[in-house]
């Protein structure tokens, strides 16, 4: 049961309610979001006659991206069932900042208390920044089981308005408005295969949420975490992760530094994707991989995973892009759907 506002498209209403209908163009041209109206009456909107043919209109088909309701209706859609999706409804929430500290020289950990908000490990929220039109996205950095709220890890973008406000202006006790949860980046427990968690920089937030969530299970497949940062002081929660790995048989942990390390550092040097090859010996087939970090790190990891014969259906990614990155996004072909 989905509530649809007057004038709201079926697609918008379903997505808002956590029902992920397949869609692509959003303008009634491609036909990806075709659904069948079983009961009730809909306005087909601006569906193209080539994307929604006459015979289909007669059969009660509609394009969800431009159809609106004339009465209550029952629709049927072909949804690729994702047994791991909880389909949590997206909502607007207001939380309160209960603690904040610098986790690294440029990353602030903000603890938010909120009630009535559920999410899946790996998902994100859109945080509203006063005075800015566009919200900023941040992944939850703690497990969903942590009652009463979540942590965000906010890395300061040099000159960035959103992260600047979250670092300099937001204080303990302040209210924080956000919408969520969003994202299809969550753990696929149903895959039941060895898990690769790959984090680059502040991408550790979503990955840490997933890790804590997985380690809350009584048992499960082996987990290999590779976490890359520039230097030792940029690693968030390193000591804790080392300790978890030492006490947990199914977890192995590699931290890798790309810049100068102190003489004390006896760990790996270089980049996350190089560690994929170093630790797995070039064979990734049979795993499920979750990759989170900046676009260049994700691209390098995808290439290393594919070189190790792991392909799109077993790779999940979440790109951390800044508002400035967005404009420079590369042109892509339709060869890959998600990657």
């Amino acid at each position: 049961m989905v509530d649809v506002a007057a004038g709201q498209t079926l697609l918008a209403a379903c997505l808002r309610a956590g029902v992920h209908l397949p869609h692509a163009c959003n303008h009634g041209l491609c036909g990806t979001c075709k659904v069948t109206v079983l009961e009730g009456e809909v306005d087909l909107g601006a569906a193209s006659t080539f994307a929604l043919m006459d015979v289909e209109r007669e059969e009660g088909k509609a394009l969800a991206c431009c159809a609106t309701l004339r009465s209550d209706a029952v629709i049927e859609a072909d949804i690729d069932e994702d047994p791991d999706a909880l389909r949590l409804a997206v909502g607007d929430h207001v939380g309160r900042v209960v603690a904040a500290e610098m986790a690294t020289p440029d990353t602030r950990r903000i603890r938010v208390a909120v009630s009535g908000f559920a999410f899946q490990a790996g998902q994100y929220v859109d945080v509203r920044i006063p005075g800015l039109e566009r919200p900023r996205a941040f992944s939850m950095a703690t497990a969903p089981s942590a009652r009463g709220g979540f942590d965000l890890l906010v890395k300061r973008v040099p000159g960035g308005e959103g992260t600047g406000w979250l670092h300099d202006r937001l204080a303990v006790g302040d209210a924080l408005a956000f919408a969520g949860p969003f994202g299809r980046f969550f753990v696929r427990r149903s895959a039941d295969r060895p898990i690769l968690l790959l984090a680059g920089g502040s991408g550790i937030s979503a990955i840490r949420s997933m890790l804590d969530d997985l380690l809350g299970d009584a048992g499960g497949p082996p987990i290999r975490l590779i976490y890359g940062a520039r230097s030792e002081r940029d690693l968030v929660g390193h000591a804790e992760l080392v300790a978890r790995a030492a006490s947990t048989a199914r977890l192995s942990y590699t931290a890798v530094l790309s810049e100068e390390a102190s003489p004390r550092w006896d760990g790996a040097r270089g980049f996350v994707h190089e560690q994929i090859e170093a630790t797995l010996g070039g064979s990734c087939a049979g795993h499920t991989a979750y990759v989170c970090g900046p676009p260049a790190m994700i691209e390098a990891c995808i290439r290393s995973l594919m070189k190790g014969r792991l392909f799109e259906r077993d790779i999940y990614t979440e790109r951390f892009v800044t508002v400035a990155d967005g404009a420079a996004a590369l042109a892509r072909s339709p060869l890959f759907k998600r990657l």
Partner: protein
């Protein structure tokens, strides 16, 4: 009280499609599968798990029939109205129709060949999902051939050169360019065929054929062509996704497939590119109202869209097709070199050519500022002056054809547009000639196959084409001498067109 009954759930489209594909397949037991599907391992492609095939689209047979029937109804309504309202008079100029002649005689038989090729692939790929996709495409291609033949049939009533397209396709020299392209694909194994046609041609290069040509038709008032174009294009997205899926599937199934796929991408990129050189001439010279230049289309559809595709394919260890850099170097001269060839030999062709008008030369000069005025305008001036003296130039010497693309060898060196490129290879004591490194590489890779090319000029010299004189050969081609061939200027077609449109010109 009501018993708790649950209505049987309707099958989801995904389940329905799985029933149609996986559900209808079986492992043979009377004969081993390798004997039932003898060709799908022959090419060296290793498939471990056909269930890894992801259906690129889920179209069931009942839905397919309904969609295609509606498309046919819409198409033939337009065709009828074109016929009843003398739609042929709506085109900008009769010269435009020569682009249509080249398309309908060159491409329509390819649609039919594609129908046969996909029927073959649909029989010989052992994965059921891939087989069904190929079979549906086979039906699409038959429909495309049919709609184009109906268009051809309409224009045949009013214009020359269209009266015997099937006969001509097997004999005429420039039609051997598209024919040999498809014959090469048809005689390959099923994986190479699908890679060649669905991926390299329909995905990577088709926009260069359809978009400029269909926009050209729309710009020039040719509603019949626009309509069969739209009707075919609505199938095209399905064909493209099949091309993408088959390539992904091969690359993911086994690392040993990567070098084989790379070789096919190299080969079929170059073959497709050489075939499209005919389109370059149509775009730059044959459309009275031009849409965009060949160089602009190449930049938009290959350098940009193709660039994004090959950047993605790099993740599989695939590099951009060999000699794509040569295609880039050639983009400012390709159409001019091809038009020159067609102008030289139009006395042996079933369409007309002409020297571009002053306005057209101005347009060409603005689109090709680095090459046109320096390299091609002087030549057209010379030809125009010769024609004014009554000495329109026709080249009576038969040209050396490239053994692979079968185009007369008039393309130039990648780094010197004033020097004709000649390449050759010796195979079993015989010398073979090529227009480019791209064509030579294709020959050197499969000399057993490519040395068997049916080359129209060689065949004429061997006495297999009706005789030794040009007239003998044209009769063998079934050309109406003096009507189908020669310059547009002074042709019966021009005379008719001028008479039909006399009102228009006096009104102006």
């Amino acid at each position: 009280m009501a018993a708790a009954t649950s209505a049987p759930r309707r099958l989801s489209l995904k389940r329905k499609y799985a029933m149609l594909t996986r559900g209808l397949g079986w492992e043979t037991t009377y004969q081993p599968m390798d004997k039932v599907y003898p060709f799908d391992r022959f090419e060296g492609i290793v498939i471990h798990d056909w269930d890894g095939w992801e259906d690129p689209f889920r179209l069931t047979v009942d839905a397919y029939w309904k969609y295609q029937a509606e498309k046919e109804r819409k198409l033939y309504a337009v065709m009828d109205s074109v016929a009843q309202n003398n739609g042929q008079l709506g085109i900008t100029d009769a010269r435009y129709l020569n682009a249509v002649k080249l398309f309908l005689t060159g491409v329509t038989p390819l649609e039919y060949a594609a129908h046969r090729g996909f029927a073959h692939a649909g029989r010989h790929l052992r994965g059921v999902g891939a087989r069904i996709a190929a079979q549906m495409q086979s039906l699409d291609e038959l429909r495309h051939a049919q709609t184009q033949i109906h268009t051809l049939s309409h224009y045949n009533k009013y214009f020359d050169g269209l009266h015997d397209f099937a006969h001509m396709h097997d004999r005429v020299w420039y039609l051997s360019v598209p024919k040999s392209f498809f014959d090469d694909a048809l005689t390959a194994g099923p994986f190479e065929f699908v890679t060649a046609i669905s991926f390299s041609f329909e995905y990577v290069l088709t926009n260069l054929l359809f978009v400029p040509f269909m926009s050209g038709a729309a710009f020039n008032g040719d509603m019949a062509t626009v309509t069969f174009g739209f009707s075919a294009q609505s199938d095209e997205s399905r064909h493209m996704t099949l091309g993408l899926e088959v390539v992904k599937f091969m690359l993911e199934q086994d690392p040993a497939n990567v070098p084989i796929v790379q070789r096919w991408l190299d080969k079929w990129f170059w073959r497709g590119y050489r075939l499209l050189s005919l389109v370059s001439a149509m775009m730059d010279y044959m459309l009275p109202k031009r849409v965009m230049s060949w160089a602009e289309a190449w930049e938009m559809y290959f350098e940009e869209s193709g660039g994004a595709l090959f950047a993605d394919l790099e993740r599989y260890g695939i590099r951009p097709p060999k000699h794509h850099d040569v295609a880039k170097k050639e983009k400012s001269r390709l159409s001019h070199e091809v038009w020159t060839i067609l102008y030289n030999y139009t006395h042996a062709a079933a369409f007309h050519t002409w020297v571009p008008s002053d306005d057209e030369m101005q347009w060409l000069s603005s689109k090709y500022p680095d090459t046109f005025d320096r390299l091609y305008r002087p030549r057209y001036r010379m030809w125009r002056e010769a024609a004014a003296r009554g000495e329109r130039f026709y080249n009576d010497a038969l040209p050396q054809l490239c053994n692979v693309c079968q185009i007369p060898m008039a393309f130039t060196e990648p780094d010197d547009p004033t020097k004709i490129a000649f390449r050759e290879s010796i195979w079993r004591g015989e010398r073979f000639h090529f227009c480019s490194d791209g064509c030579k590489d294709i020959f050197d890779d499969e000399p057993e196959k490519m040395s068997q090319s049916w080359l129209p000029v060689h065949q004429i010299f061997q006495g297999n084409c009706g005789g030794a004189s040009i007239e003998d050969v044209l009769r063998y081609y079934h050309l109406n001498i003096g009507a189908d061939n020669l310059d547009y200027e002074g042709s019966p077609e021009q005379e008719l067109w001028d008479a039909w449109t006399a009102d228009r010109r006096t009104a102006r």
